[in-house]
């Protein structure tokens, strides 16, 4: 990981800021003059993880590029809650596209900037998991394949939350959604289905792929920073809990992201040109039950030993596969 681990400074680098750290080591979010790319007054629900993740990521990109970022945004919550006509919460050039073509719009803007000789202006395309893993998937794969100079950020809240919580190909096994009700012998979303888009992105052998979580800000910012330091197609998927869709308390959003990481449900890793280059260790491992319990979408899973052990098996597999418990250098 590119950020320095500072030990014993009371909270080290686990909190957003730390008065004892050198200014250069502090997060963008801890600075008074952060750009607040996604400003107050937006209509996201209380405790929205996506609003938080988007500000974390875009603020970092703005800092890295001296505020020269253009963003293309797929249809979805992030678009709807930030830009009810004629208001906008974005404080950077921002364009809304269709549900499925944000990567292609990003490609077009990048091409335009190249033609105009403005390669100092960087392009970000972003969307939710529905717009990314399902509807925009073809455009995204094309953008990767062409290695267009775009950072694509997927804010993963594991479903179509804007339209009323339907299942997407990022919805985890067992989860209740409007289209995967907890009825019958296999209640909730089917297990062993869905797509792991970060690994699919890596299969394109693009320069940079990473997963991040809103509970680990230093890690998230370091990944955005790294992504902005390279050219070509890059992909970042940020885990953003959704209180409305998950049936969790708004105050628990960051905590749920933390429990997903600490249980092994959401592995944090980086890959370059098809190879995994680093993973972020679990700090204090917890059983998946702790992650599932505060969410109503998993209420039936917690009571169902078979499903519960299936979820634990997924976490265990992640821990094994990505070596999440081994000491990193």
């Amino acid at each position: 990981m590119s950020h320095q681990q500072v030990k014993f400074y009371q909270t080290g680098t686990l909190t957003v800021g730390n008065r004892l750290l050198d200014a250069a080591q502090r997060t963008v979010q801890a600075t008074i003059d952060r750009s607040n790319s996604l400003d107050s007054g937006h209509r996201a629900c209380q405790g929205c993880g996506e609003a938080l993740g988007a500000r974390y990521a875009i603020d970092t990109a703005m800092r890295e590029t001296n505020n020269k970022v253009i963003a293309a945004n797929a249809t979805g919550c992030l678009e709807v809650f930030t830009t009810p006509y004629p208001e906008t919460s974005w404080t950077l050039p921002w364009i809304h596209s269709l549900f499925g073509n944000a990567p292609a719009i990003g490609t077009g803007i990048a091409a335009a900037m190249k033609v105009k000789g403005r390669e100092d202006v960087r392009v970000i395309a972003q969307g939710g998991d529905g717009g990314t893993t399902d509807i925009g998937f073809g455009c995204l794969s094309g953008m990767f394949e062409r290695n267009d100079d775009v950072l694509y950020i997927c804010y993963d809240n594991q479903g179509y939350m804007n339209t009323g919580v339907q299942r997407s190909s990022a919805t985890p096994g067992g989860a209740r959604t409007a289209t995967t009700m907890p009825v019958g012998p296999e209640p909730g979303a089917e297990f062993d289905k869905g797509k792991n888009v970060p690994l699919i992105a890596m299969a394109h052998e693009i320069p940079y792929v990473a997963t991040a979580s809103i509970d680990r800000l230093h890690d998230l910012e370091a990944k955005v920073k790294k992504a902005m330091s390279v050219r070509g197609a890059r992909y970042l998927q940020i885990f953003v809990p959704c209180p409305l869709g998950w049936g969790s308390a708004p105050a628990q959003t960051v905590n749920l992201a933390r429990l997903a990481v600490e249980s092994g449900i959401w592995p944090l890793f980086e890959g370059e040109y098809g190879e995994i280059t680093s993973v972020t260790n679990i700090r204090k491992q917890v059983p998946v039950e702790e992650y599932l319990k505060p969410q109503r979408r998993f209420a039936h899973v917690v009571k169902n030993p078979k499903q519960l052990s299936a979820v634990q098996a997924i976490a265990d597999r992640n821990i094994r596969k990505f070596s999440l418990l081994e000491e990193q250098e």
């Binding site: 030990k7 014993f8 400074y9 009371q10 909270t11 080290g12 686990l14 909190t15 957003v16 800021g17 730390n18 008065r19 004892l20 997060t27 979010q29 801890a30 008074i32 607040n36 996604l38 400003d39 107050s40 007054g41 937006h42 209509r43 996201a44 209380q46 405790g47 929205c48 993880g49 609003a51 938080l52 500000r55 930030t82 006509y85 004629p86 208001e87 906008t88 919460s89 800000l217 308390a249 708004p250 105050a251 628990q252 959003t253 960051v254 905590n255 933390r258 700090r283 204090k284």
Partner: protein, 542 residues
């Protein structure tokens, strides 16, 4: 009017700042300062969390100055205080308590090395008389000087320091540190009249024109019991022995030493006897080892050094060069009952360490004042039945230890000052104590406690060298940084970071934060993610 807007555009672009999402809120976050458990339990009323905060950033002088607002003896405290703060420390639930005591000692020693000083307050022209230059008297003198009053202390012994000098052996409390901290108080203009026993308090007050009096003579008379004896083994008093060691007078400790009593004084004598070459040292206690009033750390160190504890026995007779002990039966109700079974024990000296009494002769000329249950009663302002005569330390009803005495000194000084101004102030209400459950401790880095280097057991039993070593600057800062700052914002920026609505304003270093209630939706994420529990959610009153 001609439309100058592009095709299909009818409205100007506006910012979402027009949309005041604060109206969604049913609960509002507020910043609070809660009381950390260390501060709550400190008998001297130190603001421990505050001075650790300064020590964390390496500002040792500021940290020391914060201690000095409440306690003029950090170097002494860092050695002899029984640190109830560490017992109360919330970090116990995470790994191990913060080594507050060792950091305090480091700061106290830094002050002595760098000769940091404290200035007395602006002169008020009032004169206060203090009887007894123990910790309570010296602390009171110090605080009175801070408040600008003139102070004279009358002390019957040849040196100031009271029980810290005469009751605590040098391996725990080296003289040069004690002398230096007392000198710093004298340097502020406190007069100490040594070898002066006050016979008539009010007459002395009248004679020199003092405006108020603080009595702090301690409890220096040994409580001795009559053991049936044929005089074949000498029976000595623990307090006299410890005093003898300080003044380099022969103590009579030799051969097989048996100490009777389970308090800190008993352990001090036992450990001193080991250092003076006793063949064996046994401490006889009536009840179990766990029920001994001595501090567990002292007991552990004594056991390491070879002291043996003999529980469930009373000394019943000294006969033909032997001690006759009677076995006790201790039921759940914890009172010891004799069983009538006797055993003999080899001994050359018996030392009684069964407590101390207040010297009543001081009250001979004070008709209004009488001891009750061996102590002098005072009101909540530490004033006795005589107007303008205050008292504190071991002589009033309270737990008897150094830190409590220093706390009395501070409180008495403030009461005296208020009394001189004609009115006692009401005590301000204490903040809510912060409980571990109010905090989000995931954020605190794993950091095991630094163990103060302990002198090798063999080395420390052969002399009076100090047993517990110092922290150096790097590990003192490290230890301070283990403080979780319970209930008090330490500017970690979490609230500022985790708000999805940018509804927290960062005011800059040292100025903390403010909420933008126009936009705060009341999701309580800030309160949940605040590591130290200094954000509280309150219902919105509509």
């Amino acid at each position: 009017m001609k439309n100058t807007k592009p095709f299909a555009i009818t409205l100007d672009v506006g910012s979402s700042l027009l949309n005041k999402t604060g109206s969604w809120r049913t609960e509002r976050p507020v910043y609070v300062d809660r009381l950390p458990p260390c501060n709550e339990t400190c008998p001297a009323g130190e603001n421990i969390q505050e001075w650790l905060y300064h020590a964390e950033s390496g500002d040792y002088k500021k940290a020391w100055e914060e201690i000095m607002k409440h306690n003029p003896f950090p170097a002494v405290m860092g050695r002899v205080c029984y640190h109830s703060c560490e017992t109360a420390c919330n970090r116990v639930h995470l790994d191990d308590a913060v080594g507050i005591n060792s950091v305090e000692r480091f700061l106290g020693d830094q002050a002595l090395i760098n000769q940091w000083k404290v200035k007395p307050g602006k002169s008020t022209g009032k004169k206060i008389m203090i009887v007894g230059a123990g910790m309570a008297g010296l602390a009171c003198a110090y605080h009175l000087r801070l408040l600008g009053h003139e102070v004279t202390i009358f002390e019957s012994s040849s040196k100031p320091g009271g029980m810290v000098r005469y009751g605590i052996p040098k391996y725990r409390m080296p003289n040069e540190k004690l002398n230096a901290e007392i000198y710093r108080i004298e340097d502020m203009g406190v007069k100490i009249e040594l070898n002066t026993k006050i016979e008539d308090v009010l007459a002395t007050k009248e004679k020199y024109g003092f405006d108020a009096v603080f009595l702090s003579i301690g409890a220096q008379n040994a409580k001795l019991i009559n053991i049936k004896s044929d005089e074949s083994i000498p029976s000595l008093s623990a307090i006299a022995i410890l005093r003898g060691i300080e003044d380099d007078i022969a103590t009579g400790l030799h051969g097989h030493v048996v100490v009777y009593g389970g308090g800190n004084t008993a352990i001090d004598v036992a450990r001193s006897a080991i250092r003076m070459g006793a063949k064996s040292v046994k401490v006889v206690v009536r009840k179990s080892q766990e029920q001994m009033p001595a501090h567990y750390e002292e007991i552990d160190e004594a056991l390491d050094e070879g002291v043996e504890i003999v529980p469930f026995h009373s000394i019943s007779e000294i006969k033909k060069g032997q001690l006759i002990l009677e076995k006790n039966f201790v039921s759940d109700s914890s009172s010891a009952k004799p069983t009538g079974q006797f055993v003999a024990m080899e001994a050359n000296v018996v030392v009684q360490a069964l407590g101390q009494n207040v010297d009543e002769s001081l009250l001979d000329n004070l008709d209004e004042l009488r001891l009750e249950d061996g102590v002098l009663g005072v009101d909540t302002h530490l004033m006795s039945a005589i107007e303008g005569v205050f008292a504190g330390g071991d002589m009033i009803p309270s737990e008897r230890n150094v830190t409590v005495a220093i706390g009395h000194g501070k409180k008495a000084a403030r009461s005296i000052s208020q009394w001189l101004h004609g009115k006692f102030e009401k005590q301000s209400k204490k903040h809510e104590v912060v409980d571990y459950a109010m905090m989000n401790t995931w954020y605190y880095s794993d950091a095991p406690r630094t163990i103060r280097p302990m002198l090798d057991v063999v080395r420390r039993t052969s002399g009076f060298a100090e047993v517990v070593g110092d922290l150096d600057e790097t590990n003192a800062a490290f230890e301070a940084r283990r403080c979780m700052s319970c209930g008090n914002c330490f500017e970690c920026d979490n609230c500022y970071g985790v708000c999805p609505d940018n509804a927290v304003i960062k005011l800059g270093a040292g100025k903390r934060f403010e909420f933008k209630y126009d936009y705060c939706k009341g999701c309580a994420m800030c309160a949940t993610e605040c590591p130290c529990g200094s954000i509280k959610m309150e219902p919105e009153l509509i």
